[in-house]
Symmetry: D5
Subunit: 160 residues, 10 copies
Amino acid sequence: MSLATLDVNQHPYLPASAETLFKAKASKKLSFEEIANHIGRNEVATAAIFYGQAKASPEDIQKLSSLLEIPHELLDEQLSGFPDRGRTVQMPPKEPLIYRLYEIVQNYGYAYKAILNEKFGDGIMSAISFSTKVEKETDKDGNNWAVITLRGKWLPFSRF
Amino acid sequence: MSLATLDVNQHPYLPASAETLFKAKASKKLSFEEIANHIGRNEVATAAIFYGQAKASPEDIQKLSSLLEIPHELLDEQLSGFPDRGRTVQMPPKEPLIYRLYEIVQNYGYAYKAILNEKFGDGIMSAISFSTKVEKETDKDGNNWAVITLRGKWLPFSRF
Amino acid sequence: MSLATLDVNQHPYLPASAETLFKAKASKKLSFEEIANHIGRNEVATAAIFYGQAKASPEDIQKLSSLLEIPHELLDEQLSGFPDRGRTVQMPPKEPLIYRLYEIVQNYGYAYKAILNEKFGDGIMSAISFSTKVEKETDKDGNNWAVITLRGKWLPFSRF
Amino acid sequence: MSLATLDVNQHPYLPASAETLFKAKASKKLSFEEIANHIGRNEVATAAIFYGQAKASPEDIQKLSSLLEIPHELLDEQLSGFPDRGRTVQMPPKEPLIYRLYEIVQNYGYAYKAILNEKFGDGIMSAISFSTKVEKETDKDGNNWAVITLRGKWLPFSRF
Amino acid sequence: MSLATLDVNQHPYLPASAETLFKAKASKKLSFEEIANHIGRNEVATAAIFYGQAKASPEDIQKLSSLLEIPHELLDEQLSGFPDRGRTVQMPPKEPLIYRLYEIVQNYGYAYKAILNEKFGDGIMSAISFSTKVEKETDKDGNNWAVITLRGKWLPFSRF
Amino acid sequence: MSLATLDVNQHPYLPASAETLFKAKASKKLSFEEIANHIGRNEVATAAIFYGQAKASPEDIQKLSSLLEIPHELLDEQLSGFPDRGRTVQMPPKEPLIYRLYEIVQNYGYAYKAILNEKFGDGIMSAISFSTKVEKETDKDGNNWAVITLRGKWLPFSRF
Amino acid sequence: MSLATLDVNQHPYLPASAETLFKAKASKKLSFEEIANHIGRNEVATAAIFYGQAKASPEDIQKLSSLLEIPHELLDEQLSGFPDRGRTVQMPPKEPLIYRLYEIVQNYGYAYKAILNEKFGDGIMSAISFSTKVEKETDKDGNNWAVITLRGKWLPFSRF
Amino acid sequence: MSLATLDVNQHPYLPASAETLFKAKASKKLSFEEIANHIGRNEVATAAIFYGQAKASPEDIQKLSSLLEIPHELLDEQLSGFPDRGRTVQMPPKEPLIYRLYEIVQNYGYAYKAILNEKFGDGIMSAISFSTKVEKETDKDGNNWAVITLRGKWLPFSRF
Amino acid sequence: MSLATLDVNQHPYLPASAETLFKAKASKKLSFEEIANHIGRNEVATAAIFYGQAKASPEDIQKLSSLLEIPHELLDEQLSGFPDRGRTVQMPPKEPLIYRLYEIVQNYGYAYKAILNEKFGDGIMSAISFSTKVEKETDKDGNNWAVITLRGKWLPFSRF
Amino acid sequence: MSLATLDVNQHPYLPASAETLFKAKASKKLSFEEIANHIGRNEVATAAIFYGQAKASPEDIQKLSSLLEIPHELLDEQLSGFPDRGRTVQMPPKEPLIYRLYEIVQNYGYAYKAILNEKFGDGIMSAISFSTKVEKETDKDGNNWAVITLRGKWLPFSRF
C-alpha cells in the first residue's frame, strides 16, 4: 500500500508543521488510519491537522510527537497557533479527486438547499459544528464504494 | 412549513422545465418529500430533476405529470433531452447554505484525498456512479443536525 | 429626506418581491425606519427582506401587506419560499458605500481573527446566529458617525 | 489559552515587521490584549500593526520594542514607513472566520446602504476616520457571542 | 460638434433615469456644457447625474426637467433615490479613453501614494469629499491638451 | 515626518533598482521632494523612477548616484534598460489610497468620456504624452486637500 | 462567396446601429470591400464602423445611408454619438480567428517591446493615431497568406 | 541609445536561457538588430529566442554562443528543448506598450474577422505558419511611426 | 432512446439558427446520426453546425432544409454568415461530460506536448485543419467505452 | 532530433520527482519513446509520470531507476505518494500547442455531448478509466498529421 505524502514544492502555502508532520509520517511509514487510532481522532480530522486545516489539542501534539518522534518543543511551536484554513486547495480544484467533490456541490447545491430548507426551515448546515468521516464499502460484485458522511448542526437564521 | 419555490428572475439559466415544475409544486403545495415518495426517488434526486440537474425517466415524467397536473406532452417535451448540468450555482457560491458545502471541500479536500488514497489507492470517488441523501437527526439537547451522505463508486486510474 | 428606492434595471437578479415591495414603499413614501417600527423588526432586517436577503414570517407578510397596501395573496406567494441570498452585491463591490465595508474586512480581517481566536479559541463568529444594527451618533463638533454593530454567536470547531 | 501566531509560509506578502513582531510575541507568550494594554491602543489596532495594516507611532514603536525586547533600531526601521494595506487577505477570503465577515457584507450590503442613506443622506461611512472593537458576551445559557463594532465618520458626497 | 449620447443596449445596468435624460438631451441637441451652465453644476458632475453616478438635488431635478422638457414627476421619481454607483464601467475598462485613466492609476499608483504619504502622513485622498473638473488647453503648436483635476479632502487614518 | 520606504517582501516583482534606490533613500533620510529638487524632476516622476515606472535619463542616474551615494556603475546597470511598467499595483488595488483613485475612474469614467468627447471630439487623453503633479492645499478651516492634476495630449482617432 | 453577417443574439452589447447596418448589408448582399470602396475608407475601418468601434463622419453616414438604403435620419441618430469601444470581443477571445491575434500579442509581446524600445526609445506605438489594413497574398504553391499591417505613431513618454 | 535588458525579478517564469542571454547581451552591449544580423534571423524572432518564445536551431545556438561568448555547452543545454511559450506576458497586459497591441485586438478583432472571412472564407490566419517584422518610418513632419507586419498562412476549417 | 435537444434559456448566446435547427430536429424526432447520414457529414460536425460551431455549405443547408422541413430561405439566411465560434461552453466547463474533456487537457496537456514535440518537432497540432469522430466500443464484459479521435495537421513554427 | 526537457523556473509547482527524472533523461539523451518502451507503458503515460500526473508502480520505479541511473531509494521516495494532479497547466493554457486542445473542447464540447448522449444515454466518458495515445501519420502529399485517441469508459449517471 502506498502512503499519502507531501511534496512542499506543490503546496507552497502550507504551514511549516505540514512539512514536519508529513516527513515524519513518511519516515515512520505510518498510514493516517494508524495515526488516527493512536491519537484517538477521526482519520479525516487527523489528515486535516497534517494539512494545517484543523487544530491539534495539547494532547494531540503530545501523542503525535511521541508516535512520530518529532521533538515536542518543535511540534508544539509549529502547532500552537490557530489554523489559517482554506489555503490547500485552489478553487475550482484542479485535482481530479477533489474536483469530484466540488462538482457534487455545483450540481446538487440547490437540490440540497431545497431539501434542507423544507426539512429544517430557513438556515444552514454548519461547517464548524461539524464532523465528517470516510468509509469503504465493497458490493457483492467486488466493486468498492467510498462513502463520505457530512454531519453539521442546523443553524436557523436569527430573527432580528 | 414553508416550501421551496423558484423565482426565475434569480435563476435565468435554468431550463424551461424548472419553471413548469416549480409553479405546479407551489400550486399543489407539495413538499419534495411528498413528490419523492410519489415517484419513488430520493428527495435530492427529485429536487435535482426540478432544477434540471438530473434526468427524469419516462415513468418519472408520467408520475410527475399526473401528480402535479401538468399536461404530459408539455412535460415530456421539456424533460425529454439530456440535462445540461452545472448552471444553477455560481462558484464560489454566494448562497450561505451552499457556501458551507463548498467550504467543506475547500477545507477538507486534501484530507479526503489523503484518506481515500490510502484506503483505495490512486483513483477518485465517482460523482456519476453516485447517490446522495439528506437526513435529519435531533440530539438529546433538542439540537437538529443535518446529515448528508455521499456514496460514489471508486474508480482507479487506468494503467496504460 | 430622500428615500431608498429600487431601480430593477440595476438589480436584475433580485426576486420579484423586491420590485413589489420597493414600488409600494415609494408610493407610500415610507422610510425603512417607519416600516421596521410597524412590523417590529430591526431596520437592517427589514431592508434585507426587501432585497430578498432575509425571510419574512407570516406575521411580517401580513403587516407589510396591510401597511403597504399590497394584496396579501400576491405578497404571500412572492415571499413564501426561502431566500436565495447573496445575489444583490457583486464582489468586490463597486458601490462606494458597500466597498468601504468590504475594505474593512480586507484590511482588518486577520486582526479580527487574531483577536477573536485569542478571546474565544478556535472557531468563528456566526453570520447566521447573528444580528446587526445601525446607529447614528453626532459628536460635539456636529460631525455624524455611523455605528454598525455585528453580533454573532461564537461557534467552536467541533473536535472529531 | 492558545496565542495567535504567524507562519510566514502562509503569508508571503507581509512586511518584514510582521515576522519580527510575531516571533517576539510567541517568544514572550503575550496575548494581543496584554500588548494592547501596554501600548494603550485597541486590540484590533494592535493586531493590525502586527499584520502591517496600521501605522505605529514613534511611541508605539518604543513601547513595542521594550515590551517585546526587539532592538529599537530594527523595529523602527521596519515600521517607519507607511503601511501598504490590503495584502493579508485574499478576496474572497478562504479563511472561514474571515469569510463570515465577508458574507455579512455580501448579504447585508444593500440593506446597510439603504438604512444609512435614509438616516444620513447620500454619502459613505468612512473606513479611514474609523475605529473598531471586539467584545465578548456570554448569555444566560452560557453561549458566547462576539460583538464587533464599526464606527466611521459619515462623509457626504460633495456637491460640485 | 457631435454630442455624447447613450445606447442602452451597451449599458444595460444603468438606471431608468439615464435613458430618460440622454434621450431628452439628444432631442434638445444640448451639450453637457450647456446643461451644466443651466443647472449651475460642474460638467463632470452633470454627466455623472446622467449616468446615475451622482445625486441630483430637488433644484437640479427642477432645472433639468424644465430645460429638457421632461415631465417633472417622471424625473423626480426616477432621480429621487440614492445613486447606486459603480455600474457603468467594467474593470479593467475596455473603452480606450477610460482605460488611459485606469492605466495612470496602474502605473503611478504607488508613486502617488509615496508622495501623498510624505506630504500628508498616513491617510487617503477622499473620493467622496471630492470634486473634479476637465479643462482644455491648446499649446503654441496647436496641440490640444486635456487637463483633469482631482481635488479630495485628506483623511488621516484614525488612531484607535 | 515619516518617509516612504519599500519592503521588498511586499513587492516581489519590482526591478532590482527599486530596492537599491529605496534602501539608499532610507539610509540618507531623504524625502521625494528633496530628491526631486535635486534631480530637477517632478516628485511623482521621481517616485515613479524608484518604483521602476519611469525612465531615468543618464543625467538622472548621475545625480541620483551622487545624491544617494550609490555606485554609479551599479545604478547605471540597473536603470539602463527600459521600464517594464504596470507591475506595482494589483488591480483592483487593495491599498486604500490607491483604491480611491481607481474608484474615481470607476465612478466618473463615462462622465469624463462624455465631457472629453464633447470638448475634443473622438479620441483619448494620452497617458504617455502626459504629466502629473500633486499639490497640497489647506482651507480656511484647516482641512488639508490633495490636488492631483493629470495633463495629457489629446489624440484624435485617425481616420483610415 | 459568403458575406459577414451579424446575429444579435451573439452580440448583445453592440449599439443599435450594428443591427441596422448589418441587416441592410445582408439585404443588399454587399461585401465590406464594396462598401469600403463606396465610402472611401479602409475595409477594416468600415467593418469597425459596423461593429460600433469606429466613428463615422457625417459624409460616411450620408454615403452609408444611400448605399444601404437606410433612412438617413435613423442612421444619423444611431451613429451621431461617440463610439463606446471594446465591447465586441470577450478577452481572452473564444473565437479561434481572433484568438490567433491575441496569441501573437501573448507570445511576441515582449519581443515587440524590446525591438521597439531599441529602435525608438522609451514609449509606445499608438493605437489611436493608428491605421491598419488587411491584404491577401498567394504564394507560388497556391497557398493563401493573410497580411495584417499595423501602423501607429510613436509616442515617447513625456519627461516631467 | 539604451538597450533592452532583463530584470529576472520581474520575469520569474522565464527559462534559464533568458537570463543567460540577456546578461551576455548587456555585457557585450549589443542591440537586437546587431544580434539578428549576426545570426541571420529577424529581430523579433531573435528577441523571442531571448524570451524563450521561439526555438533556436543548432546553428543559431552556435552563432549566439560565439557572438555573446557564452560557453556553447551551457547555451546548448538551456536551449535544446522545446519552448514553453506564453509565459512572458500576463493578460490583460499591464505594460503600456504591449497593452496597445492587445487593445488593437480588442477593438478591431471582429472587424478583422469580417474582412478576413469575406476575403478568404471560413478559417483563420495561422500564428504558427507565421512571421512578423517591425519597421520604423519617419513622416515629412519628423514624426516616427512604428509599422508591424503580421503575415500568416490562411488555414481553412476542414470539412468533415 | 432520448434525443439531444436545446433549451435556449440555457444557451442565450447561440445564433438564431441553433433554435431553428434544434426545434425541427425535436419535431422530426431525428438523431444526429440520422441527420449526419443524410447530409453526408460526420456526426460531430453535424452537431457543431447545430450549435453554430461549424459552417454549413450551401448543399448542407439544402439538405438540412429538406430533411428538417425548414423553409430554405430562413435557414439560408440564418446560416449564410461565418460561425462565431466558442460561445457555447463557459470555461472551465460546468457540464460534467464536457469537464472530463477539459480535465484530460489539464492533466495530460504537457505530456501531449512532450510526446508531440519529440515526434514532430517544434509546432502544434492544428485545430482548424482538423477532424474528429466519436465511436462506441463494448468490451467482453459488456462495458461501453467512448472513443474520441482527434486528427489535426502538424504545423511547424515558421523560421523567420 | 530535440528532446523534451524541463526548466523548473517555468514549472514551480511540479513535484521534486519531475526535476529528478527530466535531468536524468536529458543526461541520458533518451526520448520518451525509448523510455516508454523500456518500462512497457504508453508514451503519454510515461511523460505524465515525469510531470507528476500519473502514478508509477513499484516496477516502473525500478525500471526508471535502472534505465536513468537514478538511485532507487531517491526515486522511490519521490514517487511513492499519490500524484497531485492538475498543476502543470494554467487554464486557459497559454502554451499554443496545449491551447489548441483546449480550443477543441471549447468549440466542440457541446457537439461531443450531444453525440455521446444520443449514443450512450445520460452519463459521461470517464477521464479516469481512461487511456490515450498519440500517433503520427503522413499523407500522400508528405504532410504530417497528429492523431490523438481518447478512450474512456462510459459511466451512466446512477438513478437514485
